[in-house]
Symmetry: C2
Subunit: 458 residues, 2 copies
């Protein structure tokens, strides 16, 4: 049955380039910012637009309600006897209010095979790439049922995803899941994570007066909540190195295996590329192994914002009445978000008893697999699409949906990501490109064929 040669798939991709770009424009120009309350309708619209696309290629599709933003679910059915694979993507996006945007973020701009706009690479472009790969496999009669699960709450930590999966479980049965929402280390060298970091967000706030005060009148006697929170942060984490000083914080961290460290080294990671891709002007270390370990295999405590007092030009010498620090920890296997938050809460209250800690989104870290037939299918798919076998690394970011799917759907989760560091996940001037899409379509088509073969051989 192998009409799915590399050549025929290249031809298929080229023939569908215009359609891919039209579909990407449709999705990108819906500003589906899941964190913005006034974009609620756009999250539904993007799910409906996704369902329309699946239907246009002959699939069944529907928008499934949850307590929050909806899910888009689609299906290319082959037969009852065939195995089922589910492709997970998300159609919601980050806000795009950074002043550095050089073009309108919610207007697709195409220049020389590069697609610019919020959501192009995270994750609308990869979703459409996987869709076209599925269309190719389905039309070629590959004996597999392909389901699509497109979330619209990923960027806010998937708060209703678990309940949504449970509610619609009957429709969502699957043998395995493949997620396409991860980033290679460098162009031309595929890599795929065998683990994800988790996340525990939280705020710490402190109020000491009814209103801001004149530092000449009370300064010295009045508590200053900004000073206290800054001092507290200094006790929690070393500024330059980022080393967390909270006792027990690193206790549950799974040590990096020798084989994993070896795979990291083969990943194509380069300090220069890392620095350039992220436009870092300075970095904590220039040792590549230390950087890879820091971003993939070690937890963090990060300060995202400190609210309070005066923030206009120059200074205003008032003592602020209240302050709030916005923080999060990236977590690694085998840390628990809940236990980490407990450790932090104890640490904070021992030092500032009246500080108020409010938990924000929590995502468990995920420990994946780098071997077995499904992992081999991923490796084959990348080689088929891009001419290179991938390295198994880790992903420093968090996809809360991953541990949830493994748990609720009872299926192993693998990753077939297509994004590049220079695409700028969560950054201004986000982009995706045809080179990744035109390799990704054959890679996905081949992947479906491999999975069909794995299941047949069981």
């Amino acid at each position: 049955m192998s009409s799915l040669t590399r050549e025929s798939l290249t031809q298929f991709a080229d023939q569908h380039r215009q359609a891919f770009e039209d579909h990407l424009r449709t999705l990108v120009e819906i500003p589906s910012i899941s964190s913005a309350p006034d974009r609620k309708d756009d999250c539904r619209r993007v799910a409906e637009a996704g369902a329309d696309l699946i239907r246009r290629y002959g699939g069944q599709a529907e928008v499934l309600d949850t307590a929050g933003h909806p899910l888009c679910h689609g299906h290319f059915f082959h037969s009852e006897a065939a195995p089922t694979v589910t492709i997970y993507n998300h159609l919601d996006v980050q806000p795009a209010n950074e002043p550095e945007w050089r073009t309108e973020p919610f207007k697709l701009l195409i220049e020389d095979g590069r697609y610019r706009g919020r959501g192009t690479t995270d994750d609308k472009g990869p979703a459409l790439t996987a869709l076209l790969g599925a269309v190719a496999a389905h039309r070629a009669g590959v004996p597999i049922n392909i389901k699509f699960l497109w979330e619209t709450e990923e960027e806010i930590g998937s708060p209703n995803f678990k309940a949504g999966l449970e509610q619609h479980q009957a429709k969502l049965t699957t043998d395995t899941v493949v997620v396409s929402d991860t980033i290679w280390i460098t162009r031309g060298k595929p890599s795929t994570p065998a683990g994800l970091r988790g996340l525990q967000g939280f705020t710490i706030s402190l109020e000491t007066a009814a209103h801001d005060l004149h530092s000449g009148l009370v300064g010295g006697a009045a508590r200053n909540p900004l000073t206290e929170l800054a001092w507290l942060i200094g006790k929690m984490v070393k500024g330059r190195t980022g080393e967390v000083k909270i006792p027990g914080f690193y206790e549950q961290v799974a040590p990096l295996k020798k084989s994993e460290a070896k795979d990291f080294k083969k990943s194509g990671f380069s300090v220069e590329t890392f620095r350039k891709d992220h436009e870092l002007t300075t970095i904590r270390t220039n040792n590549p192994e230390k950087i890879m370990k820091a971003i993939w295999a070690r937890p963090t405590l990060e300060v995202h914002g400190i609210v309070g007092g005066y923030t206009g030009p120059g200074i205003k010498s008032a003592v602020p009445a209240r302050a709030e620090a916005k923080l999060s920890c990236r977590l690694v296997p085998n840390m628990s978000a809940e236990e980490t938050l407990e450790l932090i809460t104890r640490f904070v209250h021992a030092r500032i008893p009246d500080a108020v800690i409010k938990p924000e989104s929590a995502l468990a870290p995920y420990k994946g697999r780098g071997d077995g037939p499904y992992a081999e299918a991923i490796k084959d798919a990348y080689e088929f699409g891009f001419g290179e076998r991938p390295a198994f690394t880790r992903e420093g970011g968090s996809i809360g949906a991953v541990p949830t799917m493994e748990q609720v759907l009872g299926a192993e989760v693998y990753f077939l990501g297509l994004s590049l560091p220079e695409h700028g996940y969560h950054a201004p001037n986000e982009n995706y490109d045809w080179e990744q899409a035109s390799g990704g379509i054959p890679a996905f088509a081949h992947y479906f064929e491999q999975i069909a073969a794995v299941e047949r051989s069981r």
Copy 2:
């Protein structure tokens, strides 16, 4: 010549209450926020309105240009032979954007002898009180020349005041200066400072990337400027106590004399009143002597704002590209603003070499006098106006104009302030009241009479 009995002055004040309120409305309803670039015209308008008022009572007055906002200068001339006293006030105000304002800040609201609005107590109300005291003395033929020096750049640290005095020096000759811009410890118990704290403002900023980054992608390896500045602040100052940990910071602090500490105790300071007046819900210590020392006789390092990263609702897990901390030190005699800034700069650069320190306004601390004939005249004036001799304390705030006037005009500076803690200097819902104005008018009139007598006896 003593037609200036307490009774006649009470009558004079009562007869001029309506005029006082009309004048206060005129001045308060000009939003002369010296720090706001778009209020430049209002600073000139308020100086002109001040000059109009002085002229209305028969004085000469003019608006003197400086490189910044202008000065209002007025004169009630008696004779060449008579001594000259200069009354210093300022007609510019703090911004009024605090959400806690219950009324329109630039609309005078009168309720039961209380005047509410930005600038009522700091310093437009006291300026008008002194003016009416001068009118009473001048009309009674007290042999003294009374000059008015009303600044409109006090709230931004008097950046052009020194050059302005030097430029117009010929018009400004004076034998002594009295400043009415200070605050009693408690209603019914006058107090006057024998010293002021100075101020050295500065910002510390750090930039580590071209734009904010995804903490999943770079977190752990990327430097976080908010974390580094918070950690740095924690090294500079203890959160709960405010103790500054920069070596040498306290070295030049003049120790508090026993006689000064004794005067502090007699000042009427009460922890409960202090807490209530400033609406503090918590405080560093409940020991009154420690509080007085902390706010009057010890320097501080205060955090006024930390800019950078995400400040909206909840959290956004980005690593900020840049951050700026806004800080200032209140200084006490015999500290030097310049040397303090040097100490801090060395301390910061030893820890974060690429942090950028930008100096903001600097004001020298001021060591005044609590004895001698001028100090006695102040004491007599308060007793005459309010029935109580004042305590000599210190002022925790800074009036940059004070050391400048002593230096440029070669005249000793004393304080005859009328504001109360509950009036809310620099705070929302600022107010002043007729009780203080109606005692202040006789106090000032009596003060002019006393000074005339001091100078005659020389």
